[in-house]
């Protein structure tokens, strides 16, 4: 088990790179590239992603439209570039939201133990019985569709999974003698939790968060694909797959395939990074 010092110590980057290996480093570079594309989208994109040009619908790849155009004559490449924004921001928001909620819930349960833990665990179990993506789909269908509703629904739906793992890890740590020692010294519960308990479980938890970024990407794209997430005409990869799917019958593959490839690339990269980092915990997540 790593101690709190290990995560802030010098040479950390070198150690991470060593953990990542060749494939992991490549994946990290890819993610960095996607981040840059997302940040600089307005300057990189050759066209306005919303600019409609009916006369040029389903245009083939050309010097002006490198990947051709979609059903309304919009530039596919520009839409992919702008789409990287929701593709990164959405999952990031989901992970941040569900991660912090899960941390609060799990650490409370682990610290208080007893009936508090029992109640929390029971609630987690019940929600766990309902598949996350299904829950999110239902919430989006019943209440509202759009970027934020989908993000919040997916975040809430993925809390139990994270909380469950973190709770068992935190309980194990809680039983360590040094925590008891701190308690005896008169340190307050919240401050032990924040200063010692959380940092101790952080390496495992952070790896879990990275992996869950991949799932969040897939699930958010899936909800948009079904039409309950991000709404047209916002350029979004999941939505582009859906729109492209509708035109498959006309023999137009480019939009759906290129957006699909983007999703797969990002998820692959994130999974590789998470996998490599999790190896040193000796436990699969």
């Amino acid at each position: 088990m790593q101690t709190a010092e290990a995560i802030t110590g010098p040479g950390r980057l070198a150690r991470i790179l060593e953990q990542l290996g060749v494939a992991g480093t490549l994946a990290l570079l890819l993610m960095a590239g996607v981040c840059l594309v997302a940040i600089f989208a307005p300057w990189i994109a050759p066209h306005d992603p919303l600019e409609v040009d009916i006369a040029n619908a389903f245009g083939p790849p050309s010097a002006t439209n490198l990947l051709g155009t979609d059903t309304l004559g919009r530039d596919i490449l520009s839409r992919l570039i702008w789409g990287s924004r929701t593709a990164l921001l959405g999952p990031l928001a989901i992970v941040a939201l569900s991660g912090s909620l899960a941390a609060v819930i799990a650490l409370t349960a682990a610290w208080k133990r007893g009936w508090v833990d029992m109640v929390i665990s029971r609630i987690i179990d019940i929600q766990f019985a309902f598949p996350a993506i299904l829950l999110a789909l239902l919430v989006a269908a019943a209440f509202s569709s759009g970027f934020w509703p989908a993000v919040v629904a997916l975040a809430l739906a993925s809390v139990p999974h994270k909380a469950r793992l973190l709770r068992s890890e935190a309980l194990r740590e809680r039983a360590q003698p040094y925590i008891e020692a701190l308690e005896v010294q008169g340190m307050s519960g919240p401050s032990i939790t924040v200063r010692h308990l959380f940092p101790a479980v952080w390496p495992l938890f952070s790896t879990q968060l990275i992996l869950s970024f991949g799932y969040a990407t897939i699930e958010l794209a899936a909800i948009s694909f079904i039409g309950l997430g991000i709404q047209a005409p916002t350029p979004d990869w999941g939505l582009m797959v859906a729109q492209g799917q509708a035109t498959l019958i006309q023999g137009e593959f480019r939009e759906a395939l290129s957006a699909g490839i983007c999703i797969v690339a990002v998820v692959t990269a994130v999974t590789i990074i998470g996998d490599r980092l999790s190896h040193n915990h000796g436990r699969s997540i």
Binding site: A129, F130, L134, L138, A141, L228, V241, Q245, F253, L257
Partner: protein, 315 residues
Amino acid sequence: MTRAIAFRTLSVASTLLVSSFIIFAAMHYSPGSSLAFILGGGENTATPEQIALVEAQFGLKDPLLLRYWHWISGVFTGDWGRSYALREDVWRLLGSRLPTTLGLIGLACTLSIAFGVAVGVLASIAGRAAGIAITIVTTIGFATPGFVAAIILVSIFAVKLGWFPALGSGDGFANSLWHLVLPSIALGLTTSCVIARITRVAMAAELGREHVQTAIIRGVPKHLILWRHVLRNALIPIVTVSGISAATMVAGTVVIEFAFGLHGIGTLLIQAVQQKDVPVVQAISIVLVGAYVLVNFVVDLLYLLIDPRVRLANR
């Protein structure tokens, strides 16, 4: 053991009860009214008398607890109600949709386990280059969402090559099965990649063990070693992972049914939620939650059967 099972059953029942109430409450408070779909689901040409009658008949204006009570007491007497929008008995409706969903999940499980184990075994005994190639393929496959796989499969095998039907359910057993091949591959892709990787790791671990090495040195035929000593012991993690994956497939089927235009209970559920078709939403949710819990339960049981150590520890 019996106590454990009793406890488990009780906990499953309470889970179902609580989730049924939560879903009911969500349907009750979500915007819109079931009225529109009870009265045909199109333009509103209803007269005020009709609206008043329907509201009274279906208790649409009743408070949540009363409505839930009507529903749950119906369920306990075996009456799950009729679909508001489709005017059909809920179970008869589900009965017409379930075969598609079950067929999809069943075929996806079968294909993904068969494919995953085969690839995993191959990877563990193949050379380094083949191993790396398999790793790359399974890593990418793992990261491919079902709906993206759907697009790729349809583009290649249905539109370009014309080997499989692109979409829809088909009729008759053989034809339906044929329509389910591409959807099952899309649904099972992630799982088969997970199983392949787990199989490979488990095989490698078993291959490295002493009794296996001894058997190799003693010249026992390779396929016998693989079968008797390696694969059998490697089965424990494989079964566990397959089970968990089957549970996630229950959820994944919604997206796949949508992507392939299949009439399963997943697409019915989404439609019913949007139409505020409470009896249908409730019944499908119970089926899905039940299936999810059941699969997890079966995995636990299988775990007991396969692993003697666990069996001993539980006595």
